[in-house]
Amino acid sequence: MVMSKELAKTGEKVKTNSFNMIQAINDGLKTVLEKDKRTLLLGEDIGKNGGVFRATDGLQTKFGEQRVMDTPLSEAGFVGTAVGMALNGLKPIVEIQFLGFIYPAFEQIATHVTRTRTRTLGHYHMPMVIRAPYGAGVRSPEIHSDSVEAFFAHMPGIKVVCPSTAYDAKGLLLAAVEDPDPVLFLEPMRLYRGKRYEVPVEEYHIELGKGTMVAQGGDVSIFAWGAMMPIALEAAENMKQQAISCDVIDLRSLYPLDKEIIANSVQKTGRVVIIHEGHETGGIGSEIISIINETSFLYLKAPIEKVTGFDVPVPLFALENDYLPTTDRIEQAILKVYEF
C-alpha cells in the first residue's frame, strides 16, 4: 500500500498513466478485478455498453459476464442482490447509473447495507462499494443532477467519499474496495473528462476519512470537495489579487469528515467558507459548522459562510448554472468573512 505522491516526493520513479477521472476509475476497477476474485461489478448497462459514462468500458470482455454483470433495471433488486452476495463472501461493486436513481434502493441501503455488521455483532459484514456519478453542470436531464451526499452522511454504517482528481479517484476507489465496510463512492460527473493526472499503474490507497490541503494560505479556510474543487481553487487564486490568502481543503471523505484537518485550518485562520452543491438546509456544510463549533469555537473571528445549492429541486439544465455555486459567489463569501 504505497502512497505514490509520497514516493514521488522521495524521488523514486513510479510508473504512471496520464488519465482523466473516468479513465482512472476504469483503471481502478480493472485493478481490483484482477487482484481479488471475490470482487464483481453489478449495474445497469455496465457490461457490453461499458456504462453510460464508459467507466466499465472493456471490463466485461476482459473479465466475463460473471464478474461484470448487466442487471435488470432494478436498483432495489440489485443492491439487495449485492447484499446477498456480500453476506456470502463476495465483494460486490455496484454502479448506480446516476445518484438520482439511488432512491429506489434507499431502503436496502438504510436497513441492510448499513446495518448488517451491527445486527450480527460483526459475524457478517458488508464489503460493498456503491459507485454513483453525481452532480449538476453537464446538461443532464431531470433527476440526473442531484447532490444528496448528506442523506448518506446521516446514515450510520456507510462511509461516503468523493474524489476531485483522477489520482484521488483511483486511490480512494482502491481503498473503498479494500474497506471491509460499505462505502458510497461519489463520482463528480463534471470532472469525469476534465484534467488529466499522472495515475500510478500500481496499487495505491488513499485513506478514507482524510482530507487534503490543496492550497495553503493564512487568512481564510475554504472547505469543499468533488466538482466544487476547481472553482474553490479558482476563487482562492483570484483573491490573491486582494491580498487574501486561503487554505483550500478538499475534504474527500464526507463521512467521516476529517475533523483534524478542519480544526487545524480553522484554528489558524478563524475564518471559514464552505462550498457544496447539495441543498443548503441539512447539507454537509451544517455538519462542518457543527464540528467547528465543537473544536474551534474560540478561534472563530467571523460567522462561517456557506456557498451551496439552494433548497430547491436541482433545475433542468437551462437554470442549472444558477443553482450551482460559482466562483463569484465564493469570492463574495470570502470577502465577507475576511472583512467581518
Binding site: 445497469e44 448497462d45 457490461g47 457490453k48 455498453n49 461499458g50 453510460v52 448487466d70 435488470p72 433495471l73 432494478s74 436498483e75 432495489a76 433488486g77 438520482g100 436513481f101 432512491y103 429506489p104 446538461r139 443532464s140 436531464p141 431531470e142 433527476i143 440526473h144 443548503e280 438546509t281 439552494f310 433548497d311 430547491v312 429541486p313 433545475p315 433542468l316 439544465f317 437551462a318 437554470l319 442549472e320 448554472n321 444558477d322 443553482y323 455555486p325 460559482t326 466562483t327 463569484d328 459567489r329 463574495q332
Partner: protein
Amino acid sequence: MKEKYPLFQVMGKDGKWQDQTYEKELNEAKVKSLYYHMLRIRTYDQKGVALQRQGRIGTYVPFAGQEAAQVGSALALGEEDWMFPTYRDHGASLAFGADLDMMLLHWNGRIEGCLPSRKKHIMPASIPIATHLPHATGAAMAETYKGSKNATIAYFGDGATSEGDFHEGLNIASVFKAPVVFFNQNNGYAISLPVEKQMNSETIAQKAEAYGIPGIRVDGMDVLAVYIAVQQALDKAKRGEGPTLIEAVTMRFGAHTTADDPSKYRNQDEINQKREVVDPLIRIEKHMKGRHIWDSAWQSSLSEEIGEELDNAISRMENYQKPVVSDMFDYVFEKPTWTIAKQRQQIISRGGRG
C-alpha cells in the same frame, strides 16, 4: 406463452386486413388521422435528432419505430382521460394534444417544457423508471372516487417492468379495480440491455397473471391494432372492470438517446435494414393504398403543413424568452419558506447566475 398471448394484429405486415372486425370503426377519417399524427411525430422526431446534432438543443430522446404504438394508443384516449408518459413518449403526448412549443422547450432544459399541456391531462414525463405507474393508478382511483367515467393510461418500456413500482402500481390497481391501462412499449431494449436479459418471461403480457388482470399482446407496428386494443382496454376500465396490461411489441430504430451509441451493444446495421421492412408508417401507407384511401397530394400537403408547423415552432423555441431564474425558487411551495426566500434574494440581487 406466445400461444396464450398471441400478437393481436388488425393488418398484416403487407398492410392487408388481418382482422376485418373493426373495419367500420377504422373508417377513412380515423385512419387518415392516425396517419397524420404518425407523420407529424415522425417529422418532429427527425427534427429533434437534427437539432441535437447541430447543438441547438440538449440530449434528445428519439422514438422512431414506436410511432404506431404511441399514436394508436394516444388517439384511443378520451378528452378527459389522463396520460402518464415517459421521456420517450413525447410522440404520444403530441398526438394526444400536448403543446408543441412546450415540448420543444423541454429539450432546451426549460422547466416550462416539463408541463406538456394545460389543456389535456398530460403529466410531465417521468424520468425515474416506472415511478409513474402508481400515479396512474391513483389518478384513476380519484376518477372513480369522483364518480366520473374517465380512465388513465401509463406508458412504460420493457425495462420498466423490472422495477418494484411497476409491480406495486399494477397490484394496487388490480385490487381496487382502478380504471387504468398499463401500456407497455416493448422495444426490445432498455438502453443496452436486450429484453431477454431483462426478464425470463417470454412475454410481458403474461405478467398480468400476477394481478389477475387481462394481459394483451399487440403488434406495436400496427397502428390499427394498437388503437383497437387500447380502446377496448379503456372501455373496459370505464365500465368498472379494472385495469389491463397491454404489451405493444415494437422496435426502437435509433439510439436510446442522442448521447447513446447503440453500436456498442447491438448490430445497428441489421436494425437499420430491418427498419425498412417493419416501418409502421410504410405499413399503414400500404394499408391505405390497399383500401384506396391513399392520396399522394393529400400526403404531400400534410407533409408540407407539418414541416411548416415545426419550423415555426422551432424558431419560436429559439427566440423564446430567457429562462427566469426565480422560477427555480417560486414553485417549490405555494409560499416560499424563509430559507428559499433568503436564497432567492441572494441570487436575484446579483442578477442571476453568480
